[in-house]
Amino acid sequence: MTVASGVGYTLIALGPGFSLFFLSIVSKPLLILTLLASTLVWLASLVALAIVWRGFLPLGSSDWICLPLLASSVALQEFLRVHFWRTFKKVESSLNGVAVRISKPPLRPSEKIEIAIALGFGHGLAHSIMFCLSLLTPAFGPGTFYLRSCPQMPFFLVISLISLGFLLIHTFSMVIFFKGYEDHNSGLRFFVPAMHAVASSLTLVNLVQNGCVIGTPLVMLCAALTLFVCGKSLWQKGD
């Protein structure tokens, strides 16, 4: 309903993202490039998945296909995350080499965390745009939309909230993941795929009638948990 609500939904989904972007990322060109690269990779993985599953769409009434769909998507993304880490290690050494050449200090730990944040934020941003913003376009016009299975909240509100949750999860999972590898802490390393899988499965609850009332807060809970674990792991570094 009207531009105001459209803008409102966008801000719900992307508000923390915008803050993160403008505070940390926009002043550092390398982070902007990292962001774009990671968004591109996420998009490519999504396209690959879509090509594979195209034959099964439209789903019609067979909702159960969502389960293998989700499982394969989460698996692919977690697999790619490991490759992100490996690429980062390789790039890190060449970045440090460049740093020596242009008389700048090599990558500090906080800068590595910032790179991880940028990578994760790229995923989260791509997720938000694909799954949320592109559907918010009707929200700028008159009227609103309710799903039959979710008469309690407008459709746009639900997707904004869930997409906010996933933005946070994606962004900070990457940090936790990198920290896990750096500190050889396998607990953190396994936390990330587990959390991703759990959060995605929780959205399956939304398939049930009135499920979104339970599903959405649970996703937000996952996001909060991710934030907590991330903060705790960084805090232990001794700052």
Binding site: L30, L43, L46, L57, K104, L107, S134
Partner: protein, 476 residues
């Protein structure tokens, strides 16, 4: 908190994250801005697209009609694209001819005229569309005065006849690109796609083939050491505020060892000494000749390279007398330079250095011309890497990127984002190739091909996938 401490301690020496990639981001920003404007305009104004007139020159052969059969549409679109490319080729050859005959005044007049035309004609049409869509109360006299002023300032600024702050030039160039792109997105759909692909292919041919018009133009320009009259967006080197003194960023010069010190040393001192007298610096010329065994090939993504040896003004005068030392070992000197308040001098410095570069035969410039309705013109171009200035990107690239993204905007935001990422990735790849190959490269092909591929993939494959999940509120 951790990051606060880091920020305060990273003050004077900067950090890696802040210095790398600044050039790339400085060219990405205006490209993104142009695309963003076009997308916003398309979404805000396309209420009833049948009333809008697309540039007629692209529809000379075939005007698409919704009731035609598919094969007719495809065939017609292909013909349209080919005719358009033919027009552009002819116009570019004409430009080469004029440049060869040294009709510089003629060329500059033409460019100014085309800028004026784009700004006034297309700008007024856009303004009228705005007024119509949103029922704004504007009277004819105010409107025409505003548009006229807008056009005149654009002519003075976009192709600068006098020194103006760079932000104006950049802003007006982006506006020109946006206006042209906006009206080009209203071509019929298939025509747009065929046109984009055809222009990308033409770009490759014109720049890389020896007989291509842009290649010839390039060689003429570098042989004659003249500046091309063209609409080219140039991003300035990044000078960070607050960095003063010798602790500030060190600018490394990309130096090529002089292959023929005698000839080049003669030309070098006169320019550099003149320059030095003006600015009190003594500048080592960037390279004497381009030789492929260049010792320090800085990566394209590094900080822009520029080196000025700071000397006392007294020494500047005898620059002509000592070319030898200066030319022979500038390589290792990383001299501190440049605080914010010499920005203006920076611009003149860069412009001067740009001319210097051309003197050394280092720069390749391409030029392509676009004739819309026979009366307006935009200058298309390609990417050129300038060692000391920013990256240069021709305006035509802006236009075609924005057309692609605008056309994607007519479908959905998902396609916009996918095409934007594809274009940015293509641009990055082209710049990387530029650093490797060190010659002029066409900026269109990689980006356009990636963009087209992503558009169709997103539209056909990704969108159903995402929608099916989304409407069931299942996310991952």
């Amino acid at each position: 908190m951790d990051s606060d401490q880091e920020n305060s301690s990273s003050g004077p020496s900067g950090s890696l994250l802040e210095s790398l990639g600044a050039e790339l981001v400085s060219i990405l920003a205006p490209v993104s801005a142009c695309m963003l404007f076009v997308v916003l305009l398309v979404r805000a104004l396309v209420v009833n697209s049948s009333q809008l007139q697309a540039p007629a020159i692209a529809l000379v052969i075939y005007a698409e009609d919704p009731s035609d059969s598919t094969s007719e549409k495809l065939g017609g679109a292909l013909l349209n694209a080919l005719v358009f490319v033919a027009f552009v080729t002819a116009a570019t050859f004409l430009l080469v001819g004029l440049f060869y005959l040294r009709c510089t005044k003629c060329l500059r007049l033409y460019v100014s005229f085309s800028i004026f035309n784009v700004l006034v004609y297309l700008g007024a049409a856009l303004g009228v569309l705005f007024v119509q869509t949103y029922s704004l109360p504007v009277d004819v006299i105010t409107f025409s005065v505003v548009i006229f002023n807008f056009g005149v300032v654009g002519v003075l600024v976009a192709f600068p006849v006098m020194p103006v702050p760079i932000i104006f030039t950049q802003g007006y160039l982006v506006l020109i690109g946006m206006l042209t792109a906006f009206w080009f997105t209203f071509l019929p759909e298939w025509t747009t796609w065929f046109l984009l692909v055809a222009m990308a292919l033409y770009d490759i041919a014109a720049v890389l083939l020896p007989g291509g018009p842009l290649n010839m133009l390039l060689e003429l320009a570098s042989k004659r050491e003249e500046e091309l009259p063209a609409l080219v967006y140039e991003s300035r080197p990044v000078v960070r505020p607050g960095q003063q003194g010798s602790q500030s960023r060190r600018w490394r010069r990309r130096v090529v060892v002089a292959a023929s010190p005698s000839t080049s040393a003669e030309t070098a001192p006169s320019r550099t000494s003149l320059f030095a007298r003006i600015f009190g610096y003594r500048v080592v010329s960037p390279y004497q000749t381009v030789s492929m065994e260049a010792p320090q090939q800085a990566e394209i993504l590094q900080a822009p390279e520029e080196e000025a040896v700071e000397t006392s003004p007294g020494e500047a005068g005898d620059g002509a007398g000592a070319p030898g030392n200066r030319d022979r070992d500038p390589a290792e000197e990383a001299i501190p330079l440049m605080s914010r308040h010499v920005d203006h001098r920076m611009e003149t410095l860069s412009a001067f250095m740009a001319n210097e570069e051309r003197a050394a035969g280092a720069i390749h410039d391409e030029l392509r011309e676009l004739n819309n309705d026979g009366s307006e013109g935009g200058e298309l171009g390609r990417i050129e890497s300038v060692t000391e200035g920013g990256i240069k990107l021709g305006l035509g690239d802006f236009i075609f990127y924005s057309v692609l993204v605008g056309r994607a905007a007519m479908f959905d935001l998902m396609t916009v984002w996918a095409c934007y990422l594809a274009i940015v990735a293509g641009l990055g790849a082209t710049l990387a190739l530029l650093a490797v190959w060190r010659r002029a490269l066409p900026a269109l092909p990689i980006s356009i091909s990636l963009g087209v591929v992503f558009y169709f993939l997103t539209r056909l494959v990704l969108e159903p996938y995402v929608l099916q999940l989304d409407t069931r509120l299942v996310f991952f």
